[in-house]
C-alpha cells in the first residue's frame, strides 16, 4: 500500500511461546516492556510512600523530643527480627527468579512457598507489635494515652522508656503524630506485603502447573521486583522509625 512499508515478517518468524501476545513484535520486546512497566509502577509506589516520608521529615523536625521518646518505645528486637525475616524472604525470591530462568519447576515452587512462609512470618511478628501498642494505648485516636511519655518512671518493664526524661504534656501529645506515622507507614507497608502474599499464592499455583518452566518467566521476574521493592521500603522504615537517636541499648 505504500513504498515506505516493507515486509519484515520473515525476520521474526520463529516458533513463539503461547504467552507471546500478538501486539508485540518479539518476545524480547514483550519481556522488556513488561519489566519497564514494572519499574515505572515501582516509581509511582516511591512517590506514594514519599508523601508519608515527607510528613515524617516535617514532624520529626518540629517535634523532635516527642519523636525521640516515641521512637525509643518501639520494640527493636521485633523490628530487627522482622528485618532478618524479610531479607530471608527476599533471598528466597531471588533464588526463585533464578530457578524460573533455569526452568527448574520444583525448585521454583519451593522457593515461592518459602518466600510466602517468611512473608507471613513478618506479618505475624507485626501483629504482636501492633498488639503491644494497643495494650499501651499508643494507637492514635480517642483512646490514645501519653502516660508513658509524661511519667516514664512508672514503666520499669520498658527499660528504654524508663531511661527517658519525662516530656511536658504538650510535647508528649505530639507522640500521637509519631504513632500515626508509624501506623500509616508500617500499615501501608504491611498492606503491600499482604497483596504480595496473595499474588504469591497465585504464582505458586501457576508455577506448580508448569507455566514458568518453558522460558516464560516475566511474571516471576516482575513479581520479584515488587517483592524486593517492599523489602527496601522496610529497610528505610526500620532505621527511620526504630533506630534513629536510640540511645545505646543497655
Amino acid at each position: 500500500m505504500d513504498n515506505a512499508i516493507v515486509d519484515t515478517h520473515e525476520v521474526h518468524e520463529h516458533v513463539s511461546l503461547p504467552q507471546h501476545r500478538h501486539h508485540f513484535e518479539t518476545e524480547e520486546q514483550q519481556r522488556e516492556a513488561g519489566s519497564f512497566g514494572m519499574w515505572l509502577f515501582l516509581l509511582t509506589e516511591i512517590m506514594f510512600f514519599g508523601g508519608m516520608f515527607f510528613a515524617y521529615l516535617l514532624y520529626r523536625n518540629w517535634y523532635y523530643d516527642a519523636f525521640a521518646a516515641a521512637s525509643n518505645q518501639l520494640n527493636v528486637p521485633m523490628g530487627a527480627a522482622n528485618t532478618a525475616i524479610l531479607i530471608t524472604s527476599g533471598f528466597f525470591m531471588a533464588i526463585g527468579v533464578w530457578a524460573a530462568e533455569m526452568r527448574k519447576r520444583k525448585m521454583l515452587v519451593w522457593m515461592l512457598v518459602l518466600t510466602t512462609v517468611f512473608g507471613c512470618a513478618f506479618i505475624g511478628v507485626k501483629y504482636f507489635e501492633y498488639k503491644e501498642k494497643y495494650k499501651l494505648h499508643h494507637i492514635p485516636g480517642n483512646n490514645f494515652s501519653i502516660a508513658m511519655f509524661v511519667s516514664p518512671q512508672n514503666y520499669p518493664q520498658y527499660p528504654d522508656t524508663y531511661a527517658e526524661k519525662p516530656l511536658m504534656p504538650d510535647m508528649a501529645q505530639k507522640t500521637q503524630v509519631f504513632f500515626f506515622l508509624y501506623f500509616a507507614m508500617t500499615g501501608m507497608h504491611a498492606l503491600h506485603m499482604i497483596i504480595g502474599i496473595g499474588l504469591l499464592f497465585w504464582l505458586t499455583w501457576r508455577a506448580w502447573r508448569g507455566d514458568f518452566s518453558s522460558g516464560y518467566v516475566a511474571p516471576i521476574e516482575n513479581f520479584g521486583l515488587y517483592w524486593h521493592f517492599v523489602d527496601i521500603v522496610w529497610l528505610f522504615l526500620f532505621p527511620l522509625l526504630y533506630l534513629i537517636n536510640r540511645h545505646p541499648l543497655n
Binding site: N3, A33, F36, G51, L58, P140, Q173, L181
Partner: protein
C-alpha cells in the same frame, strides 16, 4: 507540496468505507466491554468523558444562573457550594485529566509510533473500568446529597467541619487517579519500547512528545494525590491528627501534598492539548512545525518545571517569604517553554498554505485564549499581584482561559481533526465552523468579564455578591449560555455524522502522520505490515512524492 500551491484535498466522492475495520471486526456489546483494542477503549472513554462533561457543564450552567442576580435566590448558599464542588470535581478529574490522553491519545499513540496496540492492553481496559468506577462514585456522592469542600478538599474544612459525602468523593478521585496512572504508564512504556523500526525519538510527531511529558506527570504526580487523599480519609475516620493543628498536625502539609499533584495536573491537562495543536497547525499550514526540537523539549521542560511551582497556590497561606520568592521565580520560568510553543506555532503559520477548516479554527482559538490565560498566570505568579488577585474571579477567569479556552478548544480541535480517522466519516464542515465561532464568542463573553470582576475584588465561591457587580455577571451568564450552545452543537452533528457524514477516505487532510497513511477507520491491528519509518515527521515533500507514486486507492 511547496509553500505556494493551493491545497486541493483528494476527491472524497470516490472514497468508500473499508469492509473490515476495528469497529465491525467483532460484534456485540461484550466485544466492546472486554476489548483490548486501544481504539475501542478510546471510543469507550470518549463516550464516558462526554457524558461527564455535560454533567459538569450542567453544574456550570447552574452556577451561572445563580450568579445572575446579586442575592442567593436560585439556591441556598450551601447548595451553591455543592454545585461548584461538583462542577470542579467532575471537570478536573473526570473530564480534563483524561480528555485528550485517554481518548485521542489512546487512539493515536500506538498508531503514531507504528505499533499494533499499547504495551498493556488489559491494563488499558482496567484503566477505563477504574475511570467508570470513579465516575459512578462521584455520581453517588452527588445523588446522596453532594459534597461541598470545593474540588481542592482543603483541610481542616474537609476533615473537621463538613458533614457531607467527602469520603465518597475522595474515594472516587483516588480510584480515578489510578486510571490516570495506568494510562500514563502504558504510554511511557509504549513510546519507549514499541516504536516501529526507524521511528527515532526525533521522528515522532509532537503529539507523542507532549503525551510523553504528560505521562511522566501522571506517573510521578498522581500517587502523591493518592496518599494525600488517604491521609484525609484517615483523618476523617480515625481523627489521627496529621492535618489537625489541635493535635500537632499541619493543615498546610495537606496543601503541599495536594498541590504537588494538582499543579502538575494542570500540565497533565494542557500538554496533550498542545500536542493536538502542533498536529493541527502543521497540517493546515502544510509546513513542518517550526523548531521541532524546541517544541519537543519545551514539553519536557514544562513537565519538569511543573513539579517545582506548587507552592504558588499557597502564597497567602503563611509559607515563608523566601520560599514564596523562589516559587514565584520558578512559576514565571514555566512561561518560557509555553511561550516557545506559541512562538513556534506562529512561525509555523508564517508563509504556510493556511486553510481554515474547523480544527484550525479551534486551534486559532486555542492560541489566542491560551496566551491570555498564560500571561494572566504570570500576573498571579508575581507575589504582590497575587495577594490582591488570589481567591477572586481573576483566578477563576485565568484557569478557565487555560483549561476551557485552551484545553477544551484543543480537545475539540482534536476530535474534529481525527474524527474522519476514528469513524471513517466527515463531520459537516459549515455547521462545525459555526460551532467553533460560537464557542469562541461565548467563551470570551463568559470569562473576560470575570477578569474585571476579579480585579475589582469579587471573591470566588460565594453565592451572593454586591449589586454593583451585577452587569458584568449578567454578561458572563449570557456568555455561558452561548458557550453551552457552542458545546451542544458538536454533540448533535457529530452524532449525526456517524450515519450520514460523507465518507472520509484515508487521508482527507493530506496530513503526513502515520495514522493518515492507513485506512479509516483503521484495522484492529492498525497496520497490515509493520511500517518502516525513513522520513522525518511533518515531511510534506515525502507525502507529495508518495501520493504521486501511489497507484491504487484503498476501496
Amino acid at each position: 507540496m511547496s509553500a505556494h500551491t493551493i491545497v486541493s484535498l483528494p476527491d472524497q466522492s470516490t472514497a468508500k468505507l473499508p469492509k473490515v475495520n476495528y469497529i465491525n471486526a467483532e460484534q456485540g456489546i461484550l466485544s466492546w466491554l472486554l476489548t483490548g483494542d486501544h481504539k475501542r477503549i478510546a471510543m469507550l472513554y470518549l463516550i464516558s468523558i462526554t457524558f461527564f462533561f455535560f454533567i459538569g457543564g450542567a453544574f456550570a450552567g447552574l452556577i451561572r444562573f445563580e450568579l445572575l442576580t446579586p442575592q442567593s435566590d436560585l439556591v441556598a448558599a450551601d447548595t451553591y457550594n455543592k454545585f461548584f464542588t461538583m462542577h470542579g470535581i467532575i471537570m478536573v478529574f473526570l473530564f480534563l485529566v483524561p480528555s485528550v490522553p485517554a481518548t485521542i491519545g489512546n487512539f493515536l499513540i500506538p498508531i503514531m509510533v507504528g505499533a499494533k496496540d499499547l504495551a498493556f492492553p488489559k491494563i488499558n481496559l482496567l484503566s477505563w473500568y477504574l475511570y467508570v468506577a470513579g465516575g459512578i462514585l462521584t455520581l453517588a456522592a452527588l445523588v446522596l446529597g453532594g459534597v461541598d469542600t470545593g474540588w481542592t478538599f482543603t483541610t481542616p474544612l474537609s476533615t473537621h467541619y463538613l458533614n457531607t459525602h467527602v469520603l465518597t468523593a475522595a474515594t472516587a478521585i483516588f480510584i480515578a487517579g489510578f486510571s490516570s496512572i495506568f494510562t500514563g504508564l502504558n504510554f511511557i512504556v509504549t513510546i519507549h519500547r514499541m516504536r516501529a523500526p526507524g521511528m527515532t525519538w526525533f521522528r515522532m510527531p509532537l503529539f507523542v512528545w507532549s503525551h510523553y511529558a504528560a505521562s511522566l506527570l501522571m506517573v510521578l504526580g498522581t500517587p502523591v494525590l493518592a496518599i494525600a487523599i488517604v491521609l484525609v480519609a484517615l483523618e476523617r475516620i480515625f481523627g489521627i491528627g496529621v492535618f489537625d493543628p489541635a493535635k500537632g498536625g499541619d493543615p498546610l502539609l495537606f496543601q503541599h501534598l495536594f498541590w504537588f499533584y494538582s499543579h502538575p495536573a494542570v500540565y497533565i491537562m494542557i500538554l496533550p492539548g498542545m500536542g493536538v495543536i502542533s498536529e493541527v497547525i502543521s497540517t493546515f499550514s502544510r509546513k513542518r512545525v517550526f523548531g521541532y526540537t524546541a517544541v519537543a523539549f519545551s514539553s519536557v521542560a514544562i513537565a519538569l518545571f511543573g513539579f517545582f511551582v506548587w507552592a504558588h497556590h499557597m502564597f497567602i497561606m503563611g509559607v515563608s517569604n523566601y520560599s514564596a520568592l523562589v516559587f514565584s521565580l520558578l512559576t514565571m520560568l514555566v512561561a518560557v517553554p509555553s511561550a516557545i510553543k506559541i512562538f513556534n506555532w506562529a512561525f509555523t503559520l508564517q508563509k504556510g498554505s493556511i486553510t481554515f477548516e474547523t480544527p484550525m479554527l479551534y486551534a486559532f482559538g486555542f492560541m489566542g485564549l491560551f496566551t491570555i490565560g498564560g500571561l494572566t498566570g504570570v500576573f498571579l505568579g508575581s507575589l504582590g499581584m497575587d495577594i490582591h488577585l488570589t481567591e477572586t474571579y481573576f483566578i477563576v477567569a485565568h484557569f478557565h482561559f487555560v483549561m476551557v479556552g485552551g484545553m477544551l478548544m484543543a480537545f475539540l480541535a482534536g476530535v474534529h481533526f481525527w474524527w474522519p480517522k476514528m469513524t471513517g466519516r466527515m463531520y459537516p464542515e459549515s455547521l462545525s465552523k459555526l460551532a467553533a465561532v460560537t464557542t469562541f464568542i461565548g467563551f470570551n463573553l463568559t470569562f473576560l468579564p470575570q477578569f474585571i470582576l476579579g480585579y475589582m475584588g469579587m471573591p470566588r465561591r460565594y453565592a451572593a455578591y454586591p449589586p454593583e457587580y451585577q452587569v458584568l455577571n449578567v454578561l458572563s451568564t449570557a456568555g455561558a449560555t452561548v458557550l453551552g450552545v457552542g458545546y451542544m452543537l458538536p454533540l448533535l452533528y457529530l452524532g449525526w455524522s456517524l450515519k450520514y457524514g460523507a465518507i472520509a477516505g484515508n487521508n482527507p487532510w493530506q496530513a503526513t502522520g502515520l495514522e493518515w497513511q492507513i485506512q479509516s477507520p483503521p484495522l484492529t491491528e492498525n497496520f497490515t505490515e509493520t511500517p518502516i519509518i525513513d522520513y522525518e515527521a511533518y515531511d510534506y515533500e515525502w507525502l507529495e512524492k508518495k501520493t504521486k507514486d501511489e497507484v491504487t486507492t484503498v476501496g
